[in-house]
């Protein structure tokens, strides 16, 4: 039967008002000190910075899902790949690592990729009985050759000063350069993944990408030579000054005093403001480009493909190519966000890349914000991130409220002791409430 889904008319004022509310939340966080808000600009800006990065991630997911209906559940993998870039591009070279086996690793990787390419060709070109054996032969030979080249080189690199380094090292270039490189890493991986998996439908694509995300993270955890694996890589250079340098700079200290701020406080705020400027600029540029594309025939074509692939195909649109295109671009944006995030953290910790946090939370952001709408996705991202962080405080606070009337005793102690877990309940409730009152997202697609 015809679907009676109705496009509720959404007021044009909705988006601006919601953004104003968001600004108000951050201002409250920065300036009021009470049970709900911390009254610290440092905190507010710290949340904002990660919120902006989340918005970039959400934008990437929104491109894939909102524009083209591709269910990418491997966000965390592309994010991690992007995060690899700052380590490989901007950290200082490791003494002796390259000599230990750099060229050989590169050669091995080339052999590995070559094997895959050859296998693909064999599969495409050959037919008949020999096809499968030939494929297997190519793969096995390639794998053996690859391991033969790869293993000793990796051992040598990892043995090189393994407590402090053990990795191949970076190029020592400016860290900002690693952002586009991160995007490239993720995009390249997405190209390969897309070639293979994009034929799958909705949830099947989701689980395939989920798997790929897990695989990428597993590789980053276990391949120590790449970025020290689970041993974490810290001390990634920054594109902005260090707080301690600022605190040691008399000019800055004087300027801070003018504002009536202590040097530590002022330096924290200033550095975060600089980051916010960088991230905000990237975010706005991306939104601008995305909006231009979406409001043109290209966007119309993507929506058509999302609505009905068979018909779009019959109307001359190369659905496979378009899917690949948007998948690569979306993943590139996610990779960019990954590089930005690692730059902000100054740390690459592959163990922290878990799907709940970096895949599903991002999805929540997109859906709550309004999939298909760039502003919506960005809004959702910043808002959800704000709540995710504030739930840490609001959950226990709520618990204190609830347990107030309960008499002293074991039950009350138990409940108060479990207060941290209210974080989940609070977050879940907020999520459900938002979905309830704006089921198509806060700023839905027009």
């Amino acid at each position: 039967m015809s679907n009676t889904r109705q496009a509720d008319a959404v007021s044009a004022w909705r988006a601006p008002i919601l953004f104003l509310i968001l600004v108000a939340l951050f201002v409250a966080e920065g300036s009021f000190r009470n049970a709900l808000f911390s009254g610290s600009w440092n905190t507010a800006l710290a949340i904002l910075n990660m919120g902006l990065i989340s918005a970039v991630m959400a934008l990437g997911v929104n491109m894939q899902w909102g524009y083209a209906g591709l269910f990418n559940a491997g966000v965390v993998g592309f994010l991690a790949l992007g995060g690899l870039a700052p380590v490989l591009v901007s950290t200082a070279p490791v003494q002796g690592a390259w000599e230990a086996g750099g060229p050989r690793v590169l050669l091995a990787l080339a052999v590995g990729l070559g094997t895959l390419a050859l296998a693909a060709q064999v599969w495409k070109r050959m037919s008949g009985l020999l096809r499968v054996p030939a494929l297997i032969a190519v793969l096995v030979l390639g794998f053996v050759l690859y391991r033969w080249l790869f293993d000793p080189a990796v051992m040598a690199i990892e043995a090189n000063n393994s407590a402090a380094a053990g990795n191949i090292g970076g190029l020592g270039w400016p860290v900002l350069l690693s952002w586009p490189v991160g995007a490239l890493f993720a995009a390249a991986a997405a190209w390969g993944v897309g070639k293979v998996a994009l034929g799958l439908r909705s949830d099947y694509l989701a689980i395939a990408t989920l798997g790929i995300g897990e695989i990428i993270v597993a590789i980053m955890r276990n391949e120590e030579w790449l970025s020290r694996g689970v041993k974490n890589f810290s001390g990634i250079p920054r594109p902005v000054p260090y707080e301690l340098d600022l605190q040691g700079n008399p000019d800055f200290v004087a300027r801070a005093a003018e504002w009536g701020l202590s040097p530590a406080l002022a330096s924290g705020i200033w550095v975060k403001l600089l980051y916010a400027g960088l991230f905000g600029a990237v975010l706005l540029a991306l939104i601008l480009l995305a909006e231009l594309a979406l409001k043109s025939p290209w966007g119309r074509m993507m929506r058509a493909i999302r609505d009905n692939e068979t018909a779009a195909e019959a109307m001359g649109k190369n659905v496979t190519r378009r899917h690949l295109q948007i998948f690569v671009i979306g993943s590139g944006v996610i990779g960019l966000a990954g590089a930005m995030m690692v730059t902000l953290d100054g740390l690459l910790s592959p163990n922290s890349f878990n799907p709940l946090r970096y895949t599903f939370l991002i999805w929540v952001m997109v859906i709550v914000g309004g999939s298909g709408n760039n502003w919506g996705a960005a809004l959702g991202a910043i808002l959800i991130w704000f709540l995710w962080i504030k739930a840490e405080v609001w959950g226990p606070e709520f618990m204190r409220l609830v347990t107030g009337p309960i008499p002293e005793g074991a039950l009350r102690d138990h409940l108060l002791g479990s207060a941290p877990h209210m974080r989940f309940i609070a977050l879940g409730l907020v999520l459900l409430l938002m979905l309830r009152f704006a089921p198509r997202g806060l700023v839905p697609e027009k």
Binding site: M1, S2, T4, Q6
Partner: protein
């Protein structure tokens, strides 16, 4: 005059803000065949849905056998003896043909194998495919399954939204034949048709709907004979 078996009077309503139905009235007597015709988008399907309670009416009243059913849910109406074949999405695609028919007989407690045999008799083309998923059938075959499903209900009022769309002439004739036969057993039929000439021929009463309102109402023969109706609605 006794009240008609089904009477839907002065219906007004639609999907969103704008009304699709404007004071539309449809009545069918017991054992009668009523046919609704009209241009595309006139609100024929909407009127059917309204009669079946799948649309909120702003105004109007629906009675069945004298009982006011305006506020009943569709599944309650099914239990009151109404059967409906929608225009689109009228089969269960991942169930087999046989299961589709069984679902038609869902509310029946008695043995329905007879009815099923009759349906297969009527549509031999789908009888061959009883173990196949309905979603794999051709357009016309689906339509036959859809009508078959409604027949399985043994309704006292059968509502058909373009039952013959996409079926071959021979099956269409069979179908109309069967509809006449069904009507003779005292079952009322309300159907929308674009194969209007054939349909009006067998109709006891015909409605021409334009923009959600009754334009002409008369016996089928009279409508067929009206040159104005023929020209503007029946394709000459």
């Amino acid at each position: 005059m006794a009240e008609p078996y089904l009477s839907a009077t002065a219906m007004r309503g639609g999907y969103g803000k704008a009304d699709i139905l404007n004071n539309c009235t449809l009545t069918v007597d017991g054992g009668q065949i009523a046919v609704i015709v009209g241009p595309n988008g006139a609100g024929k399907s909407t009127a059917m849905k309204a009669v079946f309670g799948m649309l909120n009416l702003r105004e109007g009243k629906v009675t069945l056998a004298g009982e006011d059913i305006t506020h009943l849910t569709p599944q309650e109406r099914v239990r009151k003896g109404m059967g409906f074949v929608p225009q689109t999405h009228n089969i269960f695609p991942t169930m087999t043909v046989e299961e589709n028919l069984e679902m038609g007989a869902y509310i029946r407690e008695d043995d329905f194998r007879d009815t099923m045999a009759q349906v297969y008799d009527l549509f031999p083309a789908v009888a061959d495919k009883r173990k196949q998923y309905a979603g794999e059938l051709s357009g016309g075959q689906r339509q036959q399954v859809a009508v078959g499903r409604a027949l399985m209900t043994k309704p006292s009022l059968l509502m058909l939204d373009e039952p013959t769309a996409g079926v071959s002439p021979i099956v269409m004739d069979e179908l109309f034949d069967r509809i006449i036969e069904v009507a003779r057993t005292g079952i009322s039929i309300l159907m929308v048709e674009q194969n209007a000439r054939q349909a009006l021929e067998i109709a006891d009463i015909g409605y021409v709907l334009v923009q959600g309102a009754n334009r002409y109402t008369d016996t089928g023969q009279a409508l067929l004979a009206d040159p104005e109706v023929r020209r503007t609605f029946l394709g000459g």
